[in-house]
């Protein structure tokens, strides 16, 4: 960090904010604040330059057209890529996982180049994956389980440089087996919910990557209760 305030960039919320992705930035901001670490959310809108000086970048999901525009904007204004190259933390959700890869192919069979931040390719699956997801951590990356809601047609294949975030227990994720991707300090997932309110351990992992500070857990009873409820609901999707 260049100074004591953690700067969270909310990237193109006007294009990639379809699924409450603002919530991920809010959770990071509050979890920092509640531990006495100063932070701020910087919204980077369509048409504006992308700063390369932020500590954490949050990129959300969006519709197909919006996703194409977002890639073009991020390529023309490569602040996010410069920041990632120097080790800034990046969270990519849903469309995020697709546009960060080498390329992605839509349902109309047109292939678009991605930003090349993670070793992956995405393509349109035969059916839309919709519903509650439950997954177990891959490579001991985090504690407990991963919970979220998926709504996507894309499927993603990871190359050797990228690791999966989790192994799918219920739902589809990248391909029915693994969910998400981690490469350096870039973490991607298909899960909404949004993902960080439902998975505080992932939020804290991102904060620890950004600050180097080992955090003590926060006790938020509503979050504990929500995780239990959603895990149970995912079990019911599995039985259905």
């Amino acid at each position: 960090m260049s100074d004591s305030t953690v700067r969270i960039a909310l990237v193109l919320p006007d294009l990639l904010g379809t699924y409450g992705d603002f919530g991920n930035a809010v959770v990071l901001d509050k979890r920092l604040a509640w531990r006495g670490i100063s932070s701020e959310i910087i919204s980077v809108n369509f048409g504006e330059a992308v700063p390369d000086s932020c500590d954490i970048y949050v990129v959300g999901g969006g519709e197909d057209t919006a996703q194409t525009l977002a890639v073009r904007h991020l390529r023309d204004n490569p602040g996010l890529q410069r920041a990632a190259a120097r080790g800034a933390v990046v969270l990519g959700v849903c469309a995020g996982i697709q546009i960060f890869g080498e390329k992605f192919t839509r349902a109309d069979d047109v292939t678009h180049p991605g930003l090349g931040l993670i070793d992956s390719v995405s393509y349109a699956g035969g059916s839309r994956a919709i519903g509650e997801v439950l997954a177990k951590p891959a490579n001991g990356l985090f504690e407990g389980f991963l919970t979220g809601f998926e709504n996507h047609q894309g499927r993603t294949e990871l190359g050797p440089a990228a690791q999966p975030l989790a192994h799918v227990t219920v739902g589809t994720g990248n391909d029915g087996k693994v969910e998400g991707a981690v490469q350096g300090k870039i973490l991607c997932t298909y899960l909404h919910g949004p993902v960080l309110p439902r998975n505080p351990q992932i939020a804290d992992l991102l904060i620890e990557w950004a600050t180097g500070v080992k955090l003590s857990p926060l006790d938020l009873p509503a979050v504990t209760r929500l995780r239990a409820e959603r895990s149970k609901a995912a079990g019911q999707r599995a039985d259905a």
């Binding site: 294009l15 809108n45 369509f46 519709e63 519903g131 919910g193 309110p197 439902r198 509503a222 979050v223």
Partner: protein, 394 residues
């Protein structure tokens, strides 16, 4: 008979089953039942039921009106409503956005009211741009139809622009979070005060024919008419002006239309007051971020305790991510109870909004748990429906 059966089985207010049977027996029922009538269709994300009720009240100035009052806004609901009033020369129908192309093709409306378009039930209805595209294609094909369109909504403007005839209404309301990029060409939209235009193509805010100002409408003939509505909020003023413009397109005099629609006070239970255990609770329905944002503005007029009720059944949309698009931060400092089948999701949202709250999943018990007096109850679709039914029966 089947309507009664539907009511008995608790399947709804009996608005759909009869129509479903009729459509099965006669797939052309909608076309047949609208032939020979003057038809107005009302669609959009928010305000459909209220605007439909206002418009049907206004059009009674011209004659009997068949309408689907209960919010049964899919083709079976339309068939039921039309069958009940076979001789009504006018029909005013609320139409679900997803069904609009099919209904418009069958009904060949004289007037279409296009209120607003924003994100709603993404897992069921689909994404906003897909809806805009299908409305646009349908509207461009309608012959001899006048579209009443909200020019403060970019998606609506794009959907209505190619119509045979458009009457533009400045409602002062629009949800801008889904339209940073132009629905026509994808380039950024630029705003300057109330005016907006695409940075690249020719899509821009048209000059309004009707204007909504604080509590008044300004008609195309420059006359200013007081709305004096019984319903609260800016969005109901917008609904009223849209309905008046639509009524005028059908031939109702402006003052006459406003006089008739201003009497609307409770729309399928919305805004209804219920008395319970020393409480006077006002029931408010909000289904999506744009609706919640408007409703939070309405409840801000007082500091009454609030019960917020969230379900996520199929009719609500199962993905609750949208809770994070609602500015619940505005409720800081107020007594709040999180309720409904998904009270816990809401509680997490409120926690991060730093709004103190309790969790009471049953909304009636939540009202009971508050100090006696006025209470605002805001619920999403199935939560509202269930609460309305229970509070009527208890």
């Amino acid at each position: 008979m089947s309507s009664k059966l539907s009511q008995k089985m608790g399947l709804g207010a009996g608005g759909m089953i009869g129509g479903r049977v009729a459509l099965k027996l006669d797939p052309q029922a909608l076309r047949r039942l609208t032939t020979g009538r003057r038809v107005a269709l009302v669609t959009g994300t928010n305000g459909k039921t209220t605007s439909t009720m206002m418009l049907s009240r206004a059009v009674t100035a011209l004659g009997e009106v068949a309408t689907n009052h209960s919010g049964a806004n899919m083709p079976d609901g339309h068939v039921t409503a039309l069958s009940k009033q076979p001789d009504a020369p006018y029909a005013v129908l609320e139409v679900d956005e997803g069904y609009f192309p099919a209904v418009a093709a069958a009904a060949q409306p004289d007037v279409v009211v296009l209120l607003n378009l924003s994100r709603d039930q993404l897992d069921r209805v689909g994404e906003v741009r897909t809806i805009e595209r299908s409305l646009r294609d349908t509207i461009a094909r309608l012959r001899g139809c006048t579209v009443i369109a909200n020019c403060d909504d970019i998606m609506v403007t794009s959907a209505a622009k190619d119509a045979h005839r458009v009457v533009w209404v400045a409602t002062g309301t629009g949800w801008h979070h889904d339209s940073a990029s132009c629905p026509r060409c994808g380039e950024p939209i630029r705003w300057q005060g109330e005016h907006w235009q695409c940075s690249t193509c020719d899509l821009a805010r048209p000059k309004p024919d009707w204007v909504t100002t604080d509590g008044f409408l300004i008609a195309p003939n420059a006359s200013k008419v007081a709305l004096s509505l019984r319903l609260p909020g800016k969005f109901n003023q917008a609904n009223a002006v849209m309905a008046t413009a639509a009524a005028a397109a059908l031939g109702v005099q402006i003052e006459e239309a406003v006089r008739r629609l201003r009497g609307v006070s409770n729309v399928a239970g919305r805004y209804r007051m219920i008395q319970r255990s020393g409480h006077t609770a006002r029931l408010l329905l909000s289904k999506n971020p744009a609706g919640w944002s408007e409703t939070l503005t309405v409840v801000k007029e007082s500091d009454h305790p609030a019960v917020l009720v969230i379900n996520a059944n199929e009719a609500d949309g199962r993905d609750l991510s949208w809770l994070w698009d609602v500015p619940f931060e505005r409720l800081r400092g107020r007594t709040v109870i999180a309720s409904g089948e998904r009270a816990t999701d809401l509680a997490v949202r409120l926690t991060y909004a730093e709004v103190e709250h309790k969790i009471v999943p049953d909304p009636l018990l939540a009202i009971d748990a508050l100090p006696e007096g006025a209470v605002e109850v805001i619920a999403n679709y199935t939560a509202f429906r269930d609460l309305n039914a229970r509070s009527a029966s208890e």
